[in-house]
Amino acid sequence: MMQNDVQTRMKRRGRLGRDVQSKLGKTLQAYFDDVVKEGVPDRFKDLLQQYDERKDKGSS
């Protein structure tokens, strides 16, 4: 990372431009959605299932 470069740019800029914000937003959303689209892994479905089964038995 070129620290001086970054510092110079930070001094130069106050607020981020709308286009930059929109670009960042889209990348962040795409990065996040990349995981979201994997859905619910089986281990978590099983976890809730097992919890219910235990509770069923435990209450008797």
Binding site: V6, V20, T27, F32, D34, V35
Partner: protein
Amino acid sequence: MPLEPSVREAMLSAVPSLRAFAISLSGNVDRADDLVQETLLRAMANIDSFQPGTNMSAWLFTILRNLFRSEYRKRRREVEDSDGSYADTLTSHPEQHGRIEFEEFRKALAQLPSDQREALILVGASGFSYEEAAGICSCAVGTIKSRVNRARTRLSELLAIDSADDFGPDQSTRAVLSAGGRR
């Protein structure tokens, strides 16, 4: 008593974004999935304290965030992290999630202070309002806003974005974006 079907449904439907949040926080899939598992176990054990009709997703995010922060604090104590080496493990761990296109972005995200990172993800990707994010992080709305702003500024510096056309040297990230970003 077993979970109410509607409660179970709400929990499961929150899992994909909980995982994405956990991966963004921890930078590691295995640790993230453990965090999600722990979150669900806590939630089920404390389901009586969940108020029906309120936001299940926000409740689960709050639990996960608190778990992550206590783990993070513990880890920092253990390794006497001088504000950085733990962050380095976030960027260098081999079992990273995500396609190569997001490599640069993920590294930049990992370099943000964790309070800025979580605020940005809650508001910018998870779809929470500033008010909901403030509730999840137990802080003022204004604090969330300033963290999000600082996170955006820092990210744009790290990724060297000066304008929409200039997206650093990472061609593949640019390709993803021009292909539409949100799928």
